[in-house]
């Protein structure tokens, strides 16, 4: 049985752990609020972009001359997975779940005889994927958003530019992005989203939501395009990749804080339980010690 002193030390150490976790929870809660605001603020742009994409794409006749970002390279051999995670841990299963989803997809593709390459956004993705797929990681972006963790469009643009450059030189055929979608503060859903070639259906969905929201956009309006649909589309497509990456980064940043808040809340509660349990044991041990001393005194007195 541990001595009284050992119990006291353990209780003290769990108490200081609880202080740390509850402070982290509070910090995460305030960061979450900011991150959520930022994610919401980016919505109007993303929606307008999606609406415009659909409008332009519907007016374009798809032919062999169309942009490769829209129709693909015609092959399906090399897949690029963009994995968006956080830089820091201590946020429950947030990163682990996402990386598992990405890894399963990678294994499935490899089994089908495809080549898989990775681009990591976030230190956690890099550290974990490096163990298994070290050779196929093209690049890792770590520390996006700077020391303050405030993600700007420039960060997303940097990632998007890298991917587009690789696409231009034919390094891959299909690009899929894995990120944690923020469903609510309690749930973040690992989501796979195809970036290249452009998935029209995704943008149509956004358009429908837009219409549901009561926007007065009539699809029947006759649009004129200057200079032409194809030219506009060719400019829109790369931009759209950046916007999608940006939204994913923001969602992931908000999700990270939400996950950390939940994880730290659990940790704080567990620490409280642990302290109670240890205190009971400590009291019991102390009582046993006192009883033992009493018995020794009494039996000593009786012997005299």
């Amino acid at each position: 049985m541990p001595s009284l002193k050992e119990y006291r030390n353990r209780i003290a150490s769990v108490k200081s752990t609880r202080k740390i976790t509850s402070a982290m929870k509070m910090v995460a809660a305030s960061k979450l609020k900011k991150a959520q605001e930022q994610a919401e603020a980016s919505q109007p742009y993303a929606r307008a972009m999606a609406a415009m994409m659909t409008r332009v794409a519907s007016g374009v006749s798809i032919g062999p001359g169309s942009s490769k970002l829209l129709i693909g390279t015609g092959r399906d051999d090399v897949h690029l997975l963009l994995v968006v995670t956080s830089d820091r841990g201590l946020c429950g299963g947030f990163n682990a779940n996402l990386i598992r989803a990405a890894r399963n997809e990678a294994r499935r593709l490899m089994k089908d005889g495809k080549t898989v390459k990775f681009v990591c956004a976030g230190r956690k993705a890099r550290d974990v994927l490096r163990r298994e797929f070290d050779d196929s990681i093209l690049h890792s972006f770590v520390g996006l958003g700077g020391a303050k963790g405030r993600i700007g469009f420039a960060d997303a643009d940097q990632v998007a530019q890298f991917i587009l450059e690789r696409f231009d030189v034919g390094a891959f055929d299909v690009c899929t992005m894995f990120y944690n979608q923020l469903v609510s503060v309690l749930t973040q859903k690992p989501t796979a989203q195809r970036l290249i070639p452009f998935a029209v259906s995704a943008s149509e969905k956004a358009q429908e939501q837009d219409n549901d929201a009561g926007a007065d956009k009539k699809p029947s309006l006759f649009y004129s395009f200057e200079p032409g649909e194809d030219e506009i589309l060719n400019q829109l497509l790369p931009r759209n990749v950046g916007v999608q990456v940006f939204c994913a980064l923001l969602d992931s940043a908000a999700g990270e804080q939400a996950a950390r808040m939940t994880a730290m809340d659990n940790a704080t509660r567990n620490a409280g339980d642990m302290i109670n349990k240890l205190s009971i044991r400590y009291n019991r041990a102390r009582q046993a010690y006192i009883t033992k001393e009493l018995i020794e005194i009494i039996s000593g007195a009786e012997a005299v």
Binding site: A48, M52, E165, L221, S224
Partner: protein, 145 residues
């Protein structure tokens, strides 16, 4: 319903990071890639890319237009609604001429020194934006005097 007598239309300016402007305006002049165009209420539906330049926004009741610098983007025009998607947007009054001239000098030097093709394209783009900004500031001064 489209009101043919409408005096204003809804103008929205959004950047990826936030919504910068939203409200009824009388007219907006947008620097399209194919040339500047003005938008009045009931403009026919149009989609056009924007080159780096200045957007003039005439709000109701204002004598002088608001001048906003846009670092390129897209305009989505309908009879009742105009949305401008901008990569970068700053009020022209917030731009500083001396700073811009220094930036242009630095970028020109960078451009001369670098041999990396990708870097060149990048610096060239930034230089074009900085030059457009400077032009916007100069334009404002000449309009004042």
């Amino acid at each position: 319903m489209i009101d043919s007598n409408a005096q204003t239309f809804n103008f929205e300016l959004v950047s990826p990071e936030r919504k910068l402007m939203s409200g009824p305006v009388k007219m907006a002049v947008i620097p399209g890639e194919e040339g500047d165009f003005g938008v009045l209420p009931n403009h026919s539906a149009l989609v056009s890319p924007i080159r780096p330049g200045v957007i003039l926004v005439f709000s109701e009741g204002d004598e002088k237009p608001q001048r906003i610098f846009i670092g390129g983007g897209f305009a989505d025009v309908t009879p009742t609604h105009t949305t401008v998607l901008a990569e970068e947007a700053v009020n022209v009054n917030d731009l500083n001429r001396a700073d811009l001239e220094a930036t242009i000098r630095n970028l020109t030097e960078d451009l001369g020194m670098t041999s990396d093709e990708a870097e060149k394209v990048h610096a060239g783009r930034r230089l074009a934006t900085a030059k457009a900004k400077l032009e916007a500031v100069m334009g404002q001064h000449s309009a004042q005097y």
